[in-house]
């Protein structure tokens, strides 16, 4: 300030300053009335008598770095003046929160640690506006969120996982498109990835066979196998396409009965969705516990992973793509109806289903003969 200005200042305009120290150790002086707008600082000054000198500077929580402190002080400086109209305050707020999302998050964190609720409200509203209406991919990109669902659970399982936890139509088309039936490298021997690779292998094999043989015998072969994978393949098989019944109410009841008795490993296969459309939207029955998900692909019969490295020509690849989409669609179909088809197609199948479980409900479909 120039000397002239200083001479004109009246005594009441002399502001008092308090000392503030940020987590990085840097000290600064801040106008007291501005800083006191923050409840945290207010508390420190009044209850603990801090901030009066350099040695007794108020130390701020770790989440407040000097840049954020400066922003918050700007906010406080404006809002602590009683004279502004609501319109002015609103307009200031609108301009104030125009910053990149990273800083917005940091500011939210800092404001929260200083208990400056109006600023937390403002920033959280801004963040909500950013998130609203965007696809998950967009949100991940904006906020640099790691896409680790896919890493952990595998792409196909990711698709199924998504339908476990969300029952709103999400853009699962994009996920399904990604499935190219290429084997995943399974270095940690993750059982889920094992299943996935087996599924892919089966799928490829099946498509190839259909190309060459093209008769019903192939399906019967599949039917004779007793693993879950083959059951899936069967579901995807040609002759069962398009067979749907519309006994909605019955379906509900049966599903509920079934749920009680099927193991977690079955649940993932019978991931039913009650919609008549392509996109899965609701779940008739799912359990959302994390351990269920983890058990999803537990202990499956070992299969030869030898055919994992089959070469696929482009035309077949396209077919496979379409098959996978179908796979997704199949998961929307009715499990009980499928069971009826399966039951009706083979006597030996029936024997398997009426297990030692006395009440006659459909039990877990594992083959006791295999390991």
């Amino acid at each position: 300030m120039s000397e002239l200005n200083m001479a004109v200042i009246k005594p009441e305009m002399m502001k008092s300053y308090i000392w503030i120290e940020t987590a990085d150790g840097s000290l600064q002086q801040v106008e007291q009335e501005v800083a006191m707008f923050c409840p945290f600082i207010c508390h420190e000054v009044i209850q603990k008598g801090m901030g009066s000198s350099k040695n007794h500077a108020i130390s701020l929580p770790q989440r407040v770095n000097p840049a954020m402190l400066s922003l918050m002080l700007d906010y406080c400086r404006f809002h602590q003046v009683p004279g502004h109209s609501n319109k002015e305050r609103k307009s200031f707020d609108e301009k104030f929160i125009r910053m990149d999302t990273k800083r917005l998050c940091e500011l939210t964190s800092a404001a929260d640690s200083l208990q400056l609720k109006p600023l937390v409200d403002l920033t959280s509203r801004a963040l909500a506006r950013i998130i609203e209406g965007k696809t998950p991919e967009e949100i991940r990109e904006i906020f640099h969120l790691p896409d680790d669902l896919t890493e952990v659970f595998g792409a196909c399982a990711n698709y199924l996982l998504r339908n476990f936890f969300i029952f709103y139509d999400c853009n699962i088309d994009s996920v399904v498109q990604e499935e190219k039936l290429e084997p995943l490298k399974n270095i940690t021997d993750d059982p889920r990835i094992r299943l996935l690779n087996r599924l892919y292998a089966k799928k490829r094999k099946e498509l190839k066979e259909r190309e060459r043989i093209k008769n019903v015998e192939a399906e019967e072969e599949r039917v004779d196998d007793r693993s879950v994978d083959d059951l899936l393949s069967f579901i995807n098989g040609e002759d069962s396409k398009g067979i749907k019944t519309s006994k909605n109410k019955k379906k509900n009841r049966r599903k509920k009965d079934q749920q009680k008795n099927t193991s977690p490993s079955e649940v993932i296969e019978i991931n039913e969705q009650e919609s008549n459309g392509l996109k899965g939207s609701d779940l008739g029955e799912t359990s959302e516990k994390q351990d269920v998900t983890d058990e999803m692909f537990a202990s499956k019969p070992e299969f030869d992973d030898g055919d994992v490295d089959d070469e696929i020509d482009p035309a077949l690849k396209e077919k496979i793509d379409r098959e996978v989409e179908d796979f997704a669609r199949r998961l929307n179909s009715d499990w009980p109806e499928r069971m009826q088809e399966i039951l009706s197609l083979g006597q030996d199948m029936k024997a398997l289903h009426h297990s030692s479980n006395g009440n006659g409900t459909i039990r877990k479909y594992t083959d006791p003969e295999q390991k």
Partner: protein, 427 residues
Amino acid sequence: MKQREPPKLPCKIETEQDKLSNLPAHVIDQILSQLPIKDAVRTSILSRKWRYKWATIPHLVFDNLCVSVSSQDQILVRNKLVNVVDHVLLLHTGPIFKFKLSHQDLLGVTDIDRWILHISRSSIKEFVLEIWKGQRYKVPSSLFCCRELIHLELFNCLLKPPTTFKGFRNLKSLDLQHITLAQNVFENLISSCPMLERLTLMNFDGFSHLNIDAPNLQFFDIGGVFDDVSFENTFNLALVSIGLYVNVKKDQTLILGSSSKLLRFFVHLPHIRRLEIQSYFLKYLAIGNVPGRLPRPCADLNYLSVRINFNDPKESLAALCLLRSCPNLQELEMLARPEETCTGTLTDFWIGDHWSSMFPQLRVVKIAGISGIRSELDFINFLLSNSPVLERVTVKPVSVDGGWDLMKELLRFRRASTRAEIIYSDP
């Protein structure tokens, strides 16, 4: 698909860049609460950390946006809605402070009963339920066990609390529209909610005597059919808006010598600041012996809006009494009631200068729905000559007929205030 590498520690650069996921849980709750429920739940697939972040949001709003189905099939939409609500409630964890259910296809009574039971176990503070169609929904008794309720809003419901109901001791705001409840239920409800500050009642049936005993009441807005309204202990009541949707019974108005409803109405409203007298309520106030002015002026009243039939002598008397009793009135709105039959014309009521300088603070006036009859013009003249600080008068006739004549008359009127603007607004 890209090559899968063995799972390793998350990239350090990425975690440093991701500032959002590590915000404190209550802040994330706050952010997600401001999203439509659909977007909030979808954050569960953003990343591992986000799988359950949505599940603790304290506000759940299920409205027309929460289920987007292109199908027009109502049953499909309804089933989907039921599924969505069931799943959200089941997957949700932690307290639910605000719950709103308002979907146009909502009908399943047992579903709503089930949800309310679930909610009632959760220290709910704000509850909004709107049944868009069908019969009145009978609210289950579990709602009346929500002791922490602060705001309750019901649309198209029937209330029949259990006999053990002792009131909502924390309820501050009550909004009941298109509801049915019995007279004693209503009275019990009001008197057993001591903290009640805001009361809105629209289109109610089952009770017709409104005896409002609410010491903390500040805002009162009712519109419906009732026989009687009176206040008790309402010394904090500042905003009142009352609309009586049907005309008072003829026999009531003819009884002479009966106590004035107007007097009774204002006895317990000493600090009223804003008053809106809508539909036929002025007719109700005009019942009995209307005094010249109120015994105690409404010193705090600064806004008054009255729906009046300028041709009715009793209503004009009531209006005059009111106008004389609010010395600090700043804003006035007079709306002419469109009557089917003209019950004779009132002349010379507003003429005379024994009411001079009656409006020392009146600045803004709005007059609407008038047709240019004599009594209306007299009234405007009366206003203009008695408002020394008047700044703006807006006149809006009900139709274009006679607009020109009206304007000619308006031009002639003398104005006590040199700053008064008269604005003619097209109908």
